[in-house]
Amino acid sequence: MTAAPRTEDRRHVVVVGAGPAGLAAAGSALAAGARVTLADAAERPGGQYHRTLPEEFGGPRDGGSHFARLRRRVLDHPHCTWLAETSVWALERPDPEQPGPPRVHTLTGPADGNDRPRRVLTPDALVLAPGAHDRVLPFPGWELPGVYAAGAAQALVKGERLAVGDDVLLAGSGPFLLPVATALLTAGAGVREVLEANTPKTVAAGWTRRPWQLAAQPAKAAELARCTALLVRHRVPYRMGRTVIEARGDGRVEEAVTARLRPDWSVVPGSERTVPVDALCVTHGFTPQLELPLAAGCALLRTPAGEFVAVDADQRTTMPGVYAAGEITGIAGAPAARTEGALAGWCAAGGDPAAPALHRVRRNRERGRAFAARLAAAHPVGPAWPGWLRPETVICRCEETDYGTLRSAATDASGAAPRVIKLATRAGLGPCQARICGPTVAELTARLHSPPPGRPAEGLPPAAPHRRPLAQPIRLGELARTPDGPEPDPKESTA
């Protein structure tokens, strides 16, 4: 028999992101005997899915849930270091000669502060679980105050006890509309209607193909049933094949123009309706947060639903020692993220990939993948959505680049390469660094080009919307500072 390794001799797994995937990864890496550092920008683990009210408001009310138990088990573990309010702003790859995952640069403290301690972590293995954010397609007036990404409305209820309005319209596509409607209703907000842009035929064809796969997601099915029942109880209409094509108002949103859509999301002429609203919440799917996987050098996989991190059967990316889990490998919701995280954490910790205990996890992971494919098939973004745009419609919210400017730059024969368009129109050069407009600009310019896009500039990697040397904002003063000593020991957590 051998003695258990001392803390400093244990394999060190760094997990970035403490949502369902990241927390599950931390839990299984600890179970496999590793020392874990878990970092998240929030004050408490949970991510958007398990976002809870702050302690000032009575704290988490889910004390007995599976997630709450896992959270306690991870945070109380003697070999776990929890870095709350911590941004991972860069990953630094070692020399090509040196094997191993990248070094992890962190800043800890209140968001966008100016004197946050800087640390550098040197993991034996890295699990990336940063999640995703709403994708919102532009439409005239979407920049008006009072128009929110649906995730914002949900976050405000879950984390701040705040309803965005009394006359709320929810529009877009995907099952995420339902929990957002639920959150608003339980907070006492008035929800006028929920609009799913895809037609009943598209949604039904996506979900009911291979119906036995749905039966494998009982948690998701029950969640949807609960949400639907609540809509019925509150007499909130759920309409398909209709969406918001314009927001209007003086200084803030006051009315929304909705219209009936064909399956390709082109507007049925004459179907427009104007409804008074005090808030409009919109979601058209999710954008995976790919800055860190790209900084780590991970290869991406192109799917009909967009680009995601390519992983093997053990959640291993193409970079040695780097694992990925959750929405960055495919949009499939919390249950799927949890199984991917459990597998990633175990393998990253050096656990036996053939351990019998993993059979069920692997089976659930495959079900999660099938669920992601069905989700993408049932709620695609219709190709005719740019028909909603007018020349003056804002595309890049930061720089206020409009569609007309983007269109003339993209169709200008003298140079339609992504970088040229960026510099000519400023789209993507503002503070958010194309996080919001990037996917839209990429899609619109790809369509507007008749010739293939220009060759990448000599000596530079091809432009990619998520390639950002700095993954999170860092102030120049913080950048200039020397890192604040070595990594913290377990039980010196920042929480």
């Binding site: 919210r397 930061c398 206020e400």
Partner: protein, 105 residues
């Protein structure tokens, strides 16, 4: 109506706090972000874009930077990500001013 606070956890005591926004006192409660306090006070916008158009919260989770403002002299703080503390001195920003100073990386 504007955004408003709701009580989903009755019985939890609320600790009031006060911040100033462009010199005016704004009442809030501990636990909310600065964006949450401004929304609860009925303000949906507090920044102007380059064209002068008003902006407030859009993504709500720190991605879009539409809600940035200056907190205790530090510019470009995402209001949706910053927890308010009693006595915070907040000033609103215009994009034109941000262009002259330190812009978010």
């Amino acid at each position: 109506m504007s955004p408003r606070p709701v009580r989903t956890a009755p019985g939890a005591p609320e600790r009031p706090l006060q911040i100033t926004v462009d010199g005016d006192p704004v009442e809030g409660v501990a636990g909310r972000s600065i964006a949450g306090i401004l929304l609860a006070a009925g303000r949906t916008s507090w920044r102007t874009a380059r064209s002068g158009a008003p902006r407030g919260v859009f993504c709500g989770i720190g991605v879009c930077f539409d809600c940035v403002l200056t907190v205790n002299g530090v510019p470009d703080v995402r209001a949706c990500r910053r927890r308010a503390t009693d006595g915070d001195v907040v000033t609103t920003q215009t994009r034109a001013a941000a262009d002259n100073g330190e812009a978010g990386a």
